[in-house]
Every structure is written in C-alpha cells, then in structure tokens.
Symmetry: D2
Subunit: 376 residues, 4 copies
C-alpha cells in the first residue's frame, strides 16, 4: 500500500528565491511529501503573500512561531526544509530539531564553524534526522562512481581533481541571488568557496571516500568592491597519500555550472561533469575508455535504483535533488515505524555539513597565512 | 492566488508500465494536477492493485465505467491521461471527450487512420481540449529553435534531416514494453515508424513549420519472427521545395534514445540532439557555430519561459514532459474561466496526431509499393 | 638500408589547386618519393611557372609530352600523381599506364562509366599499379574498424548509415574549386554525389565489406542556376540483406567536412566521424560504449601500423592521405624487386574507382526515374 | 622561384627515438629542409646504423665531430636539430652555435638553470638563431587565441588555468622513453614538471602574454621507486593580478596527451584542448559560446596563415610541429639574404627556454619549502 505522504514545512523560499522553488519541486517529484506550512520570508507580509501564491494551508511570520505551533498540532509537520541564507540555518534548524521535527537543510551548513558544531550537538541530542542537500550526490552515476571506487575499480587512489566554475559574477554582483552571497554577515567568511567550493569538496569526499589531511589555499575577489572571494585555488593532501586540487570560480566566462570531478588510482580513472550528468567516463588503465550511462548498459544497482526513466531519456538537476528528498522520505518513513534508517541510504548529513564548514574555515586560515598548509 | 489543482484521472499506466509513471511525474512536477481516479489496467485486479499502490482515491475496472461515474460527480475529474497501448486510445478518448472531459493522450494517436479521423471529429465536436504528448516538443531549446526558424534565422529552408535511433530491440523482443509494440493488433501497422518515427516526424514538423508533400519509404523488420518494422528509412519532400530524410531504428546498438534534428536553410543551420537536451547548435552561414543553451546566454523568451532552473543545471526528459502538462494546465484553467486558450501555448493537439497517423500510413503504402513516392 | 625514394611526376596541381598541394605533402611526409617532373596545368605558361615555384627539375606542357619523355629516360619517373579535374583522369592515366608508369589518381575515377571501364581495361593490360586516393580509408582507426567488422565484432551487419555534409556551396559557386565542380563537362553528371558522395560510398564499402544491391536516389540542386546536384539523399540495399542511407550535401551550413559512418550489426555498432579522426566508437550490444583511439589502448595492428606518433598526439587528414601514398610506395618497391605486392596493403584501386562510377551512374538513373530502385 | 632547401643536421634521434622521428617529419612536411648529416646516437655503432637506415649522406660518431666537420664544408649544414635527452642539449647546442650553425632544440632547454643561462649567453653571442620546439604553440587556433588575448577580446585577464595529463607512467617506468625521464642525471631535477609541465607553462605564457610573479608547488612521485615527480600541482600568481593553476601528471589513467588551456578575463573566456586541436572555444561574457575552427568561419590571419588544408580537414600534432620548422625556415632564409627575421614569426626562442628552466627550478624550490610562494 502507498505510504501516506510526509507533512512538510518550509523556512525561507519566498517568491523570488531560486533554491526554495527547487526544494518544492524536489519534494513533489516522487510524491512523498505534502507541503503544508511555511515561514517563507523574514518579512511577514512577503511570507504571507508567498504562502498564498503557493496555496500553502498554513503560513507563519517566523520560524519560531512555526516550530512551536506545528509541534503542538496532531497533524503538524513531520519535517521542515530550511532554505534561507546561511546564517539563519542554525537557529532555524535548532528550533525544529528540539521539537523532534526532521530537518532538510540547504548548504553550507551554517555561516561559522562554531554555529556548525553547536548545531551538530543539538542534532545528535534531538534524535531527529538531519539531511543536508548537497544535491550533486543524488545523481545516479555519481552513486555508481562512489561504489566503483569503494569496490576498488580504481585501485589505490592517487589523485582527486575537482573544480566548479561559473560565470554569473563576472560583472558586478546584482540581484537577490548575488547580494547575500557577497555579504559576510549572511554568507559567512567564504564567498565562492562557501557557495560552490563546498559542493565540490563534498562531491570529492563523497565519491572518493577519502578524508582531507591538509590544504593550501589562495582566495581572491576579482569583482570590484567585493570582500568575499569569487575565485579559489586550493591544493589538497588527502589522508593515505593521495593529492589533488580544487578550483572554484564565479568569474569564469563561458561556465554555467561546470562542476567536474576526476579521480585517478593506480588501476584506473573516473571522470564526471555535472552539465552532462547522465554520463560517467571510466578508464581501467591500459584499456579503452568506457562511457557508462544513467540506467544504461553497465549500470549498477547504485545507479539504476535512483532512476525513473530508461537510459537516453535524460534526468537532470531536479531529479538528483529529488533523489535526496526521496532518500530522506525513506528514512522518515522508517522512523515513523520505529525502524532503523535503511542501510543503503547515502544522503549527506550534518557530519558532511560540519566537515564542509571546517573545509571553508581551513581555506580562510590558509589564505590568510599566504597559502600555508593547514589541517581542516 | 494559487490556482486550484486540476482533478486528473488516468487510463492505463498500471504497475509495470513505463509511460504511465512518466505521465504521473509530469503531472505532479509543477503542482498543477491532483491524480484522483484511474482505470489503470484492462485487468480489473491489476487495476485495483495499482491504484492502491499509488494511493489513488478512486479505482475503476474500465475506462467506460470511469468516464460515466466521474462525469456524474461534482468533484469528478476535469481531465484524463490516456496511456494505454495505441488501439485503446480512440475508444477511451471518445468516452471522456463526449462527456466534456479534457484528454491528454499518448502518441501515436491511434492504431489506424480511420480511428484517428473519427476521433478527431469527436474531439472537435466535444469542445473539450485534446493534448497529445509528443513530449520532445516540450524542451525549452526546441521551442527556441522553432521560433528562430519562424523568425527567418535560417532563411529559406532547404533540408530537414531527422533521425531517432535506439538499440533495445536488437535482440529478441521481450518484456511488456516490447510485446505490444510488435503486435499489429495493438500497435497498428507501424512498428518503429509508429513508436518513434512519429516522434521524429512530429519534431521535424514542429520546428521547421513545414508540411510534407511526399515520402518514399523502405521499412524492414530485422528481428527474427518480427512482423512490424524495427527500422525505417524515409526520404522526404516538403511543400515549398525543401527535402530531407528520416531514419528510425530500434536495432542500432549503442543508441539509447538518439533523437536528432538538423535543419538547414540558405542563411544558417540548427542542430539538436535529445540526449543533450539543454544545448542547441546554431550556425549562421559563414560565421562560427554558436552553442545556445537552456536558460543561458542568448536564450529567448520561448526558451526561458519553460525553464525552472538556471542554465547549467540540466533539465531533462521529465521536465520537457511536464512542460506539456503545464501548458495543458494553462489551457484548462482558461477554460475553467470561460476564456480562450492563451495564444502562446504550443502543445501538440489532435491535428498533430492525425498528421502523424497519415505519415505512418503513407510510409506503409510507400513501402508496399517498393518505395514509390506517395503523399501523406 | 633505406630504400631509394620513388621518382614521382604530377599531372595537374598547379599554383592555386587545393588537392595538388595535398598530394605533394602526402608524397613527402614519409620520405618515400621525390617529385621530379610535372605537367602542372593545361595552360603551358601556368604549368611552367608552377613548376618553377615548386623547384621541380622537369616541367612539361602536356601530360602526353611528359609521358613520352619520362618513359624514354633512364631516370624517368616511376609513378605519376594525377590531380586534374575528373574528365582528364582517363586520358592522362592511360598515357602513363601504357608506358608502365604507375598511377596514383584522384577520385572520382573519371567523368563517365564508359571512360572508367575503358581505363580499367587499360590498367589491367598494363601491369602497372593503379592507386585511387580515397584518402579517408587511410585513417588508422578506419582500418581498425574494417578489421573489426571482418572479424565479426558486429555480428551480421544490418545497417550502414553514411553521410558527408559540407556547407561551402550554400551561397553561389565561386572560385576555382567550385567552378569545375558545377560544370558537367568537367565533373561528369554528378555534382555533390560525385565529389563527396563517392567518398562516403567508398568508405561505407571499405569498412563494411558489403556490396551494394540497389539504391533509390533523390538528387537536387539548391544553388541558383546550378545544374548538378549539391545535395543527394540515397536509400541503400546491400547484398545479404543489410540496409542503409547515404546523404551528401554541400549546402548544409555549419558542416565543414562532416563525413560520418555508422555500422550496426546484431552484435554491436561502430561510429566514426572524420572531423575527430583519432576516435572510433565501438558498442558491443548490451555493454557500455568504448572509445577506441588511434595508437591508444585497444588499438590493433591494423591501426598502430599506420601511426607515426603516440595516441593523444592527433594525426589528421594529411597523415591519412600520406598513408595511402606510403602503401603505394610499399607496392612500388615490391614491383621494383619483382615481388608480389604485400598482402596487407589496403589502398583503393581502379576497381573501387569503377565501383564508384557505377554508383554515381546508378544515382543519376534512379533520380531520373523518380527515385526508383536501380542496381549499380 | 623556390627557395633552396635548408641543409639540416640532427643530434640524437636514433632508431627507436620518438621525438627524432617527429622532428624529421616536421622538417620534411613543407619541403623547406634536406636532412644531410647526423650524430644520431651517443653509441657510434647505433649512430651509423640509424643514419644508414634513414639514408643520411653523412654520419658522425659525436656531435663535436659533426660540428667541426660540417662547419668546414662549403656545403655543410646550415642548421641542426637537437633531440637528445635534456642534459646533452647545452653542450651540443653550444658546439654548433659557436660555429654559426642555427639550432632547433627540443625542450626543456637544459637540465639545470645554470646550463640554460650559460647557453643563452652563447646563443646571443653567436648571432645564430635558436628555435625551441615548444610545438604546441604551432597550432593555428592557438595562434588565433594569442592574438585575441592581445587584441583585448577577453578584457583584463583574471585567470589562467592550464593542465597537462597523461597516463603512460601509471605503472612502472619502462622502455627507452620512460627510462631517461626518471633519471635526474639526464632529465634534471624535474620529472613530469620538466617533461610536460614546461609545455603547459609555455603555452599559458604564449597565449596569455602574462609573466609569472610567483608560484606555490606540490610535487610528488607516485610510481614505486621513482625519485622525480610524476605529478605536480602548482598555484600561480601572474604579474598584474591574474591568478591560475597548473596541473601536470603522467599517472592519470584515461589521459593520453590531455593538454588544456583556459583563460578568463572580465570580458570573456577561451578554452583549447590539444586532443581536439582544430577547435577553439570563445565566450564573450553574456553571449553564447562560439566554436572557432582552424581555417574555418571566423578564423583570423594568425590562424589561416599556418594552415595547409581547409577547415574540417583536421591538421594535427605533426603539422603544428612543422609550423615551428617552417617559421624557422623563414627566419633562416631571411638570414641567408642578410635580412631581419620577419616580424610575424612567433616560434619559441632561447628566452622561452630559459624562462621554462626558471619555472622548473622555482617549482622544485617551492616544493622543497613545503609549497611556499617563490618567484621564478
């Protein structure tokens, strides 16, 4: 029998927010959630207007009010999506976690490492689930890549090269999307390194299974009057001896959303590019390159189990995002029944979020120390 | 204020059907529909089990029973998705159209031209909307391509080359997807030409705006014991003097879902490949090729208005399918208010379906006449 | 010890000729030839000026004079490259063949089938070698493709799709390259079908090993005032049951020299594109696509034996052309020693040339018969 | 009238050497050189056998003997190609330069900075020409890229990202090509950074026109028992404020010869990949990407002047190498006539070689200082 959809709320994500709309589609795509309540903006009028435009049954003026009221209802929300600017993630998440409401939170986790550590403690104490939407981990072929590395297809890892290039901040930062991202009070101390560098770092860790030992970073703001970095070069040393590089940029004309991961071991290599997300290149050393596809020939269970349509019918960004939501739904359904979270779920958690904050912090420390090697 | 979601029913699309699941996701993605009723299988037990698995409020044993009962309810469905094998399209659609219920129907329209003509008459008489899910017309850059051709970017058209290659029937036809497609009684007289050739033909017409004058076809069944074509070569002559070719195949190893359209005029060319659906190549003659993208630099209103996320965040097959559903929703909402259907909507209609059936029929006639030129 | 370079002459290929310069580079690249004599133009002054500009020791006013004089010298040329417009190929080749001088001739073989048959008789009677520069057969991965098909990697062949698209005649035909190609007296009755269609047809035959049974063609001249076709659509039926299509065009904006071959059997597929000539896609049915490369992992002897530099160091059009010249040199060296031509040589011969002429002729006949199926 | 070919000698490049054969083809391709003399190996018997196999008129047992004897002949060589392991470049080059014989030398310039500086002094004092075969600068579209940057098409440069990945040393280093490259006595202190990193660095400088201010390097030898780096990560700071990264590796499975350059300014970006050398991506900020091609639409004089065949007929590695040789020939011909070297020539010189040696040295110093920023 069909599961009853999960009752979902949302904090942030008002009318003109990009990522709020993405979360709503992701929650809807597989039919596992019903969005019932929201505190969609820190400006109450805007919150109400957005809720009405979306047909939301219950609108609140603040996340505190929403947490309290929903927790008190029998039919209150079971989970909340937090899609605000970074500095609001921690207080909002804590308000819901303390009341046992599961949290699905956008990245980076918070705006400071202290906030992140504090939030992690709250999350662990709460017993509620905490899902971090590092959505690029939701692509089916990324899952296959991760499994292949774990299964030893590449042998001993030597190199992890990751980059994430965009061009939308080549000129002056304008518009709602840009504004808060260049404001340290709302973003934290990282600019591009927090906004997209953490995605790149998370993806590298997710697929390689490696832990970072040290990094050396050179951060720079090219945009006139910008205080936060819009470009970052980072050299990486992974525990166990692998090396690598991370480059992220928001000032590289011609790059829309060019997240790219390459991993090399002594037995083979893998390459994945987010803008062609249905493809995964695999090269066993000394053999021809193979083009693995989403749900196509050579796809493994890790790949096919996250697919909705056959190979050749492209699934994209929203489907990958929805895969995180659907994994979250499976975990929440298990909790409803008092069961353990299924072992095959691989959505990012608060630990990945804390790890990401420490990565940003290490980049900032290294950059301030003229690119000295620092531990994250 | 948010529109009330459209009350939707479904005929066909039981548990193991591919296209039924696609229609359900497409209807859900933008939040414009609520699926309330279904006759999901011609086998009543299976229909009921499928409805229960999907959490459908109302399940029926046949589309006739469903049409009658729903039409009688105040809160009955306003629209129905028909996703059965081809030969059921016509009787099912007629049952709903006669009762003023809008129809969203899978392609090809029917299994014979006679059925198609009859259905077209019913549809016109009914006043209800008829939407045909030639979903590849829903891709944003396909819409931009169409507009560019209409605006004269290519000059006078000379060539329309279209192909649609798959490989899934290279071996023996097995499984539910394959079985009815190789059965003339359920598919009609066309095999690959009906299943995918009509998509290719529809796309060529949709983007080029041309009307076919004549075709010469060579159809063949390579699969052992197969009676319907699994490969078709067709030469095309368009009204006004353009020429072209259509190739469709289900026995071309290495092709997952390789629909490709190329259009050339005396001033420029366009190329689009479904497996990289966020890209459109445009070459003004004598200038460098340009890579236009979904919602990226150079995107026109026809492109951006169908996008949910920025360029570089790939949207795929399901989003294109959902665009057809969302255009249908806009039309249905207009009808609710007694208004005309908005002029910018471009979803395929019963006329495209009838045109597709005549195309299939012409291919069969030409092939039987040793590839003589015939008019569609 | 090094072989003494072969003494080479050239007919045609004066100052502003494209293909003459290509032949000269191809003959020089591997050091197997010394160009000593030429009748580089039908205009004697131009012939002399071109010869002087190239530093040629001996210049002649006509190919007849050259054939006679060179045959009379002890150190006369051993081979001649014929790079004139098509209608001169036959008389020039015959003048040299009759005197036992080997011929390396550009394609298509002649301007009529009669001339071709006549020339073939002369060539056979002469005992001299006749090499036809269908240069695309000289690419290393094309050779590997051919061998793979012969070895059964694709199983029983079902489909051979070949196309050759250019755009340089989209506007009016101007310049030396265009002029003679649109003149039936010099080109023969085929336009694009003779100029590039024969390349495509030859490549399809070369790699597939198939023989054509029948074709149905639709030829058209889009360019204003043009009498010869600049676009051709051809449906193909191969002996043994395979089918296919050939499209060639010189009016497809955005295509520089887009020759593309795809072959499909019941066990796998191959795809090759001339503009990326170091790559060959191979798909064993049901397995991931593999990217085979020139001299790279997975390269066979048929591939590596024609390579000068390692994989990843692109070789191109001139190297492929030079491979034909070098194979010709190996044959000529064998003849010098009174030995048989080595068995591994695969350069095209007069038989391929005659086959090409019959193909052109069949296309013209079919087109005149409203695309009726005709045997070549 | 045709120029008399330049009399050329060669040091190194015996039977099984890769790069010697490349130089010979490059010298031959455009017909500007005749190879007359060689000291092809440091082992006299091997030198003689190689010369005989190549049909060389004059063979010497050592470069010293060759320099002395050739300088004494009226018809002695005018230029010499030096294609030995790195440590022999300096003594060999000096022997010829001192006698006024032009030098065409492989890269990197020498095995130490001291040798390089000493050689540079000798070269300047000699008045003879010194051409360094950083061959990747010879690709036509690379020349166009350089001109576009110089003309301001990208605006103020911000980022120069360059990488050069190979995989041939993933396993143990074996064979003649690998052996000397892993031997510090013959290669110098740099492994991959000297062998391919210098190519990447040279290309970045050549196209961007920038001068390096500082670098921070992390070098590593992954191969068992290897003392020289087979992978290098380098962060770059260019004078004037641009930043960048250089990655080179010989242990990245799946990469044949993957040299890639990306340059971004505040007005646009460029991207070039050596394995598709006929293409250049150009993105004016805010506009669609454009695909510029070798000798195709949009090609500038800097591009077309180095092309032999039309766009779409791929030229490759050997043609780019030959472009350096042909530019050298134009310079030598000017010298013959007592004229200045033409101003449009852009072949790399001893200054680029010295710059490259300082780059290697800086990488080694930085790596030894735990990746501290150092000036080159």
């Amino acid at each position: 029998m069909a599961e009853t959809p999960i009752r979902l709320g949302m904090v942030g994500g008002g009318a003109d927010a990009f990522i709020g709309a993405v979360h709503r589609i992701a929650s809807r795509l597989d039919g596992h959630y019903t969005l019932l309540a929201g505190a969609l903006s820190s400006t109450p009028e805007k919150a109400r207007a957005s809720a009405e435009a979306l047909g939301l049954p219950r609108s609140y003026d603040s996340f505190e009010a929403m947490a309290e009221a929903e927790a008190a209802r029998d039919d209150g929300i079971e989970a909340v999506a937090i899609v605000t600017p970074n500095h609001v993630h921690a207080p909002a998440a804590k308000a819901f976690l303390k009341r046992g409401i599961h949290v699905i939170c956008d990245k980076p986790l918070t705006s400071t490492v202290d906030d992140a550590e504090d939030l992690a403690k709250t999350a662990e104490a709460s017993g509620a689930l905490f899902v971090l939407t590092h959505n690029y981990t939701g692509y089916p072929v990324v899952r296959q890549a991760r499994q292949m590395v774990a299964d030893g297809a590449l042998g001993t890892l030597r190199l992890v090269q990751v980059e994430y290039a965009q061009d939308w901040m080549t000129g002056p930062a304008e518009g709602k999307q840009a504004e808060w991202r260049v404001d340290p009070a709302r973003s934290g101390g990282g600019g591009s390194i927090g906004d997209i560098g953490t995605h790149a770092y998370n993806l590298a860790c997710f697929v390689s299974g490696l832990t970072l030992e040290a990094l050396a970073a050179d951060l720079h703001a090219f945009g006139a009057g910008r205080t936060l970095d819009d470009n970052a070069h980072v050299m990486l040393r992974w525990k166990g001896g692998a090396k690598g590089m991370l480059w992220c940029s928001q000032v590289a004309p011609g790059n829309e959303n060019a997240l790219k991961l390459r991993i090399y071991g002594d037995r083979g290599g893998l390459e994945w590019v987010q803008e062609e997300p249905n493809h995964l290149w695999y090269t066993p050393f000394g053999e021809p390159k193979r083009l693995l596809t989403r749900n196509g020939a050579g796809a493994t269970e890790a790949n096919t189990s996250l697919c909705r349509v056959p190979g050749g019918h492209p699934e994209g960004y929203l489907e990958a995002f929805a895969n995180i939501y659907t994994e979250a739904a499976r975990a929440i359904h298990a909790r409803r029944l008092g069961q353990d979270v299924p072992g095959d779920l691989a959505y990012p958690t608060i630990h990945d979020g804390l790890d990401g904050m420490r990565f940003i912090d290490a980049c900032l420390r290294s950059a301030q120390g003229d690119s000295a090697w620092v531990a994250p």
